[in-house]
Amino acid sequence: MRAPPSELPIRFDDVTFDAGGITILDRVSLTLGAGAPTLIIGPNGSGKTTLLRMAMGLLSASSGRVTWDGVANRPPIRRAIVFQRPIMLRRSVGENIRYSLKAAHIPGDRHPARIEELLALVGLDGMAQRPARRLSGGEQQRLALARALARDPAVLFLDEPTASLDPAATKSVEDIIRAVAARGIKVAMTTHDLGEARRLAGDIVFMHRGRIVETGDAASFFRLPQTGEARTFLAGDLLL
């Protein structure tokens, strides 16, 4: 294993993000530290994905400041992301992982063992030679997880990784997420599936209309939400 820097904690200080005259994130302040998975929940259009992309460093704040272990504009060395619809590079499953290993400057002599280890972790053993683009949706999502983990991340962002998967594929992805979190990797994940949030979350960040409405321990949030918006959302009512 490589040594830190871990890039944690990730701090949002009064961050606003505007695009096309619309405020997507509105004066957001948040700290993501090590620990149990943080689930970012909220209705569609609440700014979850934008928050995640900004935490990854893919978007710059219109105002305010994002820092990684106290440093702004830090390149993503030990953070990784899996998108809702991950892009499979036009090569085999094994070569997709090797690409990520190379990008992370992992020495070449360690690639074969690491590829095997990662494929086993995500349940794609024996599929190294298969063309990545020919995998099913669930398999592609698991390969995207393996590719992200190849970077040996301290923090892993997941943008609705099970949104388009069937229950069996969702379960296998959730099992991997638990295994990843158990290894000490910080998971920060968006979802609009409350069941999934209950199953995976250690902490909750609840968003609505670009603002963070409520944060805290998941058990407390689900048992006793503090805001009317959270109560409405948890009740399954429309949050306008």
Binding site: R53, M56, L58, P75, P76, I77, A80, I81, F83, P86, I87, M88, L89, R90, R91, S92, Y99, S100, A103, A104, P131, A132, R133, R134, R151
Partner: protein, 230 residues
């Protein structure tokens, strides 16, 4: 029908004149494709990945240059390479090298324009993933060229089609010298004008066959590659 029989005889008997012309044509066109690819693909990739003032104008010009009239290119290269021209000291006018230069100029915009489009489309798809993996600018270009290789083969084929079928530029800068700069297309033009159809028809058949074979090979390669790489 007699000319057709004679043309077939020339092909089947492996007529040395015909073979020499075919050989030179392939050398000129394939050399031009290699050079144009070395210039056009990186240029297309650069335009696809970078934003700068005047980029749109450059793209419009390159797209427009795909329709360059070959005789105009021939004239321009002739003026450059003629004894009194700026590159006259090289002494390559009326040689196969001059023909390669002319065809490279004709083909480069085609390969650059198509490469730019292919790589830009792929970049839109890959941008977030490659940025998240902290991939540097040079590695990005290599990745996009590699992953866009099946599309880029089509760009090269388009360039090869243009080069192999071209006559106007190479006849001006090559001079159509018997046994030295005579290619399939220039010979077809000359022999047809002389009324000597067998060689012209034989070369026409060979030219079309080569283009079909090259396309069939590229298609097979592409299908096999897609099966293996997805």
């Amino acid at each position: 029908m007699q000319p057709q029989m004679s043309a077939l005889d020339l092909i089947l008997s492996g007529d040395p004149t015909l073979l020499a012309i075919v050989r030179l044509s392939l050398i000129v066109s394939l050399s031009a494709i290699v050079l144009a690819a070395m210039i056009g693909v990186p240029l297309g990739a650069f335009l696809a990945l970078n934003r700068f003032r005047g980029r749109e104008a450059v793209i419009v010009v390159i797209n427009a240059l795909m329709g360059l009239p070959p005789v105009v290119v021939g004239l321009a290269v002739y003026l450059l390479l003629s004894r009194s021209g700026p590159l006259g000291t090289f002494g390559i006018l009326f040689t196969p090298q001059a023909m390669i230069v002319a065809q490279t100029i004709l083909v480069t915009p085609i390969i650059a324009a198509l490469s730019r489009q292919i790589i830009e489309d792929l970049w839109l798809e890959y941008r977030d993933e490659l940025t998240a993996m902290n991939i540097g600018p040079f590695a990005r270009i290599l990745t996009l060229i590699w992953d866009g290789r099946f599309g880029l083969v089509v760009a090269l084929l388009a360039g090869f089609g243009r080069a192999a079928a071209e006559v106007g530029a190479i006849i001006v800068v090559g001079g159509n010298i018997d046994g030295f700069t005579r290619t399939m297309t220039t010979t077809i033009a000359l022999e047809t004008s002389k009324g000597d159809l067998p060689l012209a028809m034989g070369l026409g058949v060979v030219l079309i066959t080569i283009i079909i074979l090259v396309n069939a090979f590229a298609w097979t390669l592409r299908r096999a590659g897609e099966r293996l790489a997805g």
